[in-house]
């Protein structure tokens, strides 16, 4: 038998059919849906006179388009409200579980899946959202799909996909204090670029990866898509099993034992071949920050913005256009640059560990007056946990308020928009032009680097303050 990667094992076990000269028909175990990319899919289904095939394998929550204050009131924006109502209606009509605003199960779709134990090793998981890659942290094949594909999964629990190539990214060694999973991810993307992973599925390996918590692994896998890869995954281990065990939808009793037997097989064979292999040293990674308009434009926080020397043609114009948008110059130091907004949240860094780190950092310090900070838990469960752990008084003492769960300023579809020209240090995943509001300037960083910016009012190195 030929040696297989973790990816091969899960993929091959889910192929219903290989279409000649075409893609594979891939069976999907778990389908998450939200209000933005599903309505047209439901409409398509209706037009064809079809019903949802496996409602029990589908879970819905509105997250992209919801306010993060006063969630008990009806949503003010008419279009947003309509979209959220439509999701509820579609779910009701098709018998899909819907976790509405304000309910205990509500939150960003990639946060609630793992929390409920819906995300499990060995599964295939899709959602009409590119950051579905998050779920790969559990040793699952999880990737984002378009609305036509959402319709396919609703109609048949299958999707048609060519099998991607395989990449392994190994990070060995120990992370410096103040360096987090977010920094590993931004570091990798800065090295392989935002298209380096295209056509591939990534497996992360190495001691720096296996020593990450589940939260950290989710952050890392979440950002796989920003390197162009469809997804990223990490072989499940004790950390994974301990996280999953006992959760609402996790297997119980005998089923758990059976699952554990299967899950034990979920690792790449020793002699498995990857199409592409990268190795990095954890010691080379410092807290990262982006200075441009794609996630690959990141550097260590203590460094200076690279020059365009050596670039030519559209490479050069694209680079210069990007710096111009940011209002930065080649060769500028990042440290000390002014900051207007800080956003802690999103499916990248909106989990409990992120809030713990942020709170521990700002404890006994004060928010800078020039900074507006939005702290948005990724889910109601995260919010509850923040409250239960007594983090709220610590945050409030330092001048920070907690908002209610949602995607918020990650994509600014709701009212949480960064104004034109303002600088936002954001723990989210995309610093594209206008991502956080028309004209907004986004600097991606970890919760710690965001906390350092929030208390100093400028870009700062968190390591110097810990």
């Amino acid at each position: 038998m030929t040696a297989k990667t973790l990816f091969d094992k899960i993929w091959d076990a889910h192929v219903v059919k290989e279409v000649e000269g075409g893609p594979n028909v891939l069976y999907i175990d778990r389908h998450f849906i939200h209000e933005v990319t599903s309505p047209v899919a439901f409409l398509g289904l209706k037009t064809r006179g079809l019903k949802v095939y496996r409602p029990d394998q589908t879970t819905a929550t509105p997250d992209h388009n919801v306010p993060t204050i006063n969630q008990h009131l009806s949503i003010k924006d008419e279009l947003s409200r309509n979209q959220v109502d439509m999701l509820k209606k579609n779910c009701d009509e098709n018998g899909i579980v819907y976790h509405g605003l304000g309910t205990e199960g509500h939150g960003v779709v990639h946060i609630i899946g793992p929390e409920m134990g819906l995300t499990q090793p060995g599964m295939t998981i899709v959602c009409g959202d590119s950051h579905t890659s998050t779920h790969g942290a559990f040793g699952a094949i999880a990737f984002g799909i378009g609305t036509s594909e959402v319709e396919m999964v609703l109609a048949s629990q299958c999707i048609m996909q060519p099998k991607p190539k395989k990449m392994r990214i190994t990070v060995n060694g120990t992370l410096d204090k103040g360096v987090t999973a977010k920094d590993i991810a931004l570091y990798i993307i800065s090295k392989i670029s935002t298209s380096g992973g295209t056509g591939h599925f990534i497996e992360y390996a190495g001691s720096a990866i296996t020593s990450l918590s589940m939260e950290g692994r989710m952050t890392l896998c979440n950002l796989s898509i920003e390197s162009g890869a469809r997804g990223g995954m990490i072989a499940p281990d004790e950390t994974t099993f301990n996280y999953v065990k006992g959760r609402q939808f996790a297997p119980k009793g005998e089923d758990w034992d059976k699952a554990m037997e299967k899950w034990a097989e979920l690792k790449s064979d020793e002699d498995a071949v990857f199409d592409t292999d990268y190795t990095f040293d954890a010691a080379d990674i410092e807290p990262m920050i982006t200075y441009g308009t794609n996630p690959g434009m990141g550097i260590g926080v203590s460094q200076t913005i690279p020059t365009s020397e050596g670039l030519s043609g559209t490479d050069k114009t694209t680079y210069q256009k990007s710096l111009q948008y940011m209002g930065y110059n080649e060769g500028d130091a990042m440290k000390g640059k002014p900051v207007d907004f800080v956003f802690l949240g999103s499916c990248t860094n909106g989990r409990i560990e992120d809030f713990r780190e942020f709170a521990a950092f700002v404890k006994g310090k004060k928010k800078a007056d020039n900074v507006t900070a939005w702290l948005v838990p990724g889910s109601k469960a995260v919010q509850n946990q923040i409250e239960a752990e007594g983090l709220v008084p610590i945050l409030e003492e330092a001048g920070f308020q907690l908002r209610q769960p949602g995607c918020s300023a990650c994509l600014a579809m709701n009212d949480d928009k960064i104004p034109t020209g303002k600088y936002s240090v954001s723990t989210s995943n995309r610093n594209f032009e206008g991502r956080q509001g028309p004209g907004a300037r986004t600097l991606l960083a970890s919760p710690l680097t965001a906390a350092a910016a929030a208390v100093t009012g400028v870009i700062a190195d968190p390591r110097e303050m810990m």
């Binding site: 075409g22 298209s195 995309r430 206008g434």
Partner: protein
């Protein structure tokens, strides 16, 4: 989703010589609130096309009257970022049928193919030739021959082959989509679930 069958087209092209054109630029998130698939073309490249007050930005290619046609030519890594299919809908709805680049992001490429929009990958050198040709003469036409998988610069006769998965090609040529295919597989899927 029904779309027009694709065979051979011969038209001028609109150049967009930027790299990493992400789907947030193609259609910003605040325009994703519709619950039907209509009218996204109006907001295609919204923030590059219009000032905050709604007036058109004269230097953006889509606003330049000298450019027209059904082919959009973009720099490398076109369509990166968000999985929003609205990006493909917006480009199609605006009137494009082909996007040419030297490199496409995966999800965008899949979304385009599912919506009758043909992504054509050419070499970086050939891409430069296309940009040069449009620069020389904005009325230059290009032929996209899907059956033979050939892209030709009409003025110079230079051409290049492009690749497309045979199944997807068949779908595009016949205006078919994957859902029809999958629904017909119902029994086989049910069997798979039992196994």
């Amino acid at each position: 989703m029904a779309y027009d069958k694709f065979s051979i087209i011969n038209t001028s092209a609109v150049p967009l010589p930027y790299e990493n054109v992400d789907t947030d630029q193609i259609i910003p998130a605040r325009f994703l609130k519709a619950v039907e698939r209509k009218g996204f073309g109006d907001n295609l490249f919204r923030d590059w096309r219009y000032e905050n007050d709604g007036s058109p930005k004269a230097d953006f290619p889509l606003n330049n009257p000298k450019y027209s046609g059904k082919i959009l030519v973009g720099g490398k890594n076109f369509g990166s970022g968000s999985s929003r299919e609205h990006a493909a809908w917006a480009i199609y709805d605006y009137g494009f049928r082909v996007v040419v680049s030297s490199f496409f992001a995966d999800i965008f490429k899949g979304n385009a193919l599912n919506n009758g929009l043909l992504p054509v990958v050419v070499s970086p050198e050939f891409l430069e030739k296309i940009f040069d040709q449009i620069e020389k003469d904005a009325d230059s036409t290009f032929e996209v021959d899907l059956p033979n998988q050939v892209f030709t610069i009409t003025a110079t006769g230079e051409s290049t082959d492009f690749e497309i998965n045979p199944y997807k090609k068949h779908c595009l040529q016949n205006g078919l989509d994957d859902i029809d295919y999958l629904v017909e597989m119902k029994e086989q899927i049910a069997e798979f679930e039992q196994a």
